[in-house]
């Protein structure tokens, strides 16, 4: 069942994630990148899905969220404070607006 189909049924709240102009519905406790893949969308590149490779790095422009452990090589403490995250470790707590921010020096 896609995240969209859950609307109107008991279940986790759904948040609207906007990534560079594209929209994605993501349930609370869902991870943005995994929900994107599950829904067959390709706004962001998919790598290890475990916070290690840094391919899905984004900048959160708006909204509340939490992150699971991510490689400090790709998101430093300071970058995390400024809103950078890996989408595979990004859990929304409100609607979010994101910008792809893959490091150029990869």
């Amino acid at each position: 069942m896609s995240a969209d189909q859950r609307d109107g049924f008991p279940g986790p709240p759904m948040f609207e994630i906007v990534i560079a102009g594209h929209g994605l519905r993501c349930p609370a406790e869902g991870r943005v990148l995994l929900e994107m893949e599950r829904q067959g969308k390709k706004f962001l590149p998919v790598g290890c899905r475990g916070g290690g490779c840094g391919i899905c790095r984004v900048e959160v422009l708006r909204g509340r969220y939490r992150t699971l452990k991510m490689s400090r090589l790709h998101v430093s403490v300071e970058e995390q404070r400024r809103g950078f995250a890996l989408a595979c470790r990004l859990v929304p707590e409100s609607d979010l607006e994101l910008r792809p921010a893959r490091r150029q020096a990869h």
């Binding site: 475990g50 916070g51 490779c53 391919i55 991510m70 400090r72 090589l73």
Partner: protein, 306 residues
């Protein structure tokens, strides 16, 4: 015994973000044995069919990747011989005291031109519950999960591949079993020190010291399929496969550990002999070399590393 000098890929030390998640992955899913947790928090694992005490070391850290890869040499004297040859080649050689890893004798260490730390050691204690040797059954206890027999090899990413290939063949007495040549030169080297198709491989990448995968041996193509079922059932992050490599001929599936380090489990591959000629792949056929069935290059497989 004709095999002398460097015997095989002996261990790999990997960094993981969360030890508990890593142990579920490596012990319950891949099926490695939990040997020991050291005082410094490092955890030691081995495949059920390995005689030596451990072959995989996990260390919790804030960024995943590989700390070092160790190769076992046949005799203690070999450490001195190789240390001298490595210094002559122009690399600095360091020493690691016996016991730094429990049950392991003294090691020598050096950083190769791709940025990776490589170590050599001659002595490691035998595993307490290693494979049977008298009227030996296939195993002591039913193998678990993917039923990995042993740690087999690593693929590492970094710069200076022709130099690394030369170092392993001229200084460490490895053979180049297979190579990838482009009009701009060699971009990959598959290196063996025994009868395997490779003990370590390198692919060109601009960032140094990158880790592509650690690989574990399975018995059969059926076991690769069983591994795929486990990957599906437990939502393990799959990379590609089941498929086959043209290079080395391995039947394979790739996936990621919970920290994003790539793993392979595989079966098959050819037997290499010291008089085997080098097998060469050209850039225009590289898709077939990497994934023999798909015949196309895969951006994630080529570019995603820790």
């Amino acid at each position: 015994m004709a095999l002398t000098g460097v015997l095989r890929a002996g261990f790999v030390q990997l960094r993981v973000l969360d030890m508990k998640e890593a142990l579920t992955h490596y012990v319950d899913r891949i099926g490695l044995e939990l040997v020991d947790q050291g005082r410094d928090g490092r955890v030691y694992l081995r495949g059920y069919d390995e005689f030596d005490r451990h072959s995989v070391i996990l260390r919790e850290a804030d960024a995943p990747g590989m700390d070092a890869m160790g190769f076992k040499v046949a005799r203690k004297d070999d450490l001195k011989t190789y240390a001298a040859r490595i210094k002559d080649y122009g690399l600095k050689v360091g020493k690691v005291a016996a016991g730094e890893q429990p049950g392991v004798g003294k090691r020598i260490c050096f950083v190769i031109p791709s940025g990776h730390r490589i170590e050599l050691y001659a002595e490691m204690e035998r595993a307490k519950n290693g494979p049977l040797i008298e009227n030996p059954d296939m195993w002591r206890e039913d193998p678990r999960g993917m039923r990995a027999l042993r740690f087999d090899h690593c693929l590492l990413y970094g710069p200076n591949i022709p130099e690394v290939s030369k170092f392993f063949t001229k200084v460490l007495d490895f053979a180049l079993a297979e190579t990838v040549e482009t009009p701009d030169g060699q971009i990959a080297a598959f290196l063996t020190c025994n009868n395997k198709a490779h003990d370590v491989a390198f692919v060109m990448h601009k960032d140094p010291a990158k880790f592509h995968h650690a690989s574990f041996l399975l018995d059969s193509w059926h076991d690769v399929g069983h591994a795929a079922d486990l990957i599906a059932r437990y939502n393990i992050s799959r990379d590609i496969g089941p498929t086959r490599h043209g290079i080395t001929r391995g039947q394979t599936i790739y996936f990621f550990d919970p920290s994003g380090n790539r793993n392979e489990v595989f079966a098959g591959g050819y037997v290499y002999y010291p008089d085997s000629p080098v097998r060469t792949w050209t850039a225009d056929q590289l898709g077939k070399g990497i994934f023999y069935y798909e015949k196309e290059l895969n951006e994630r497989f080529l570019g995603v590393v820790t």
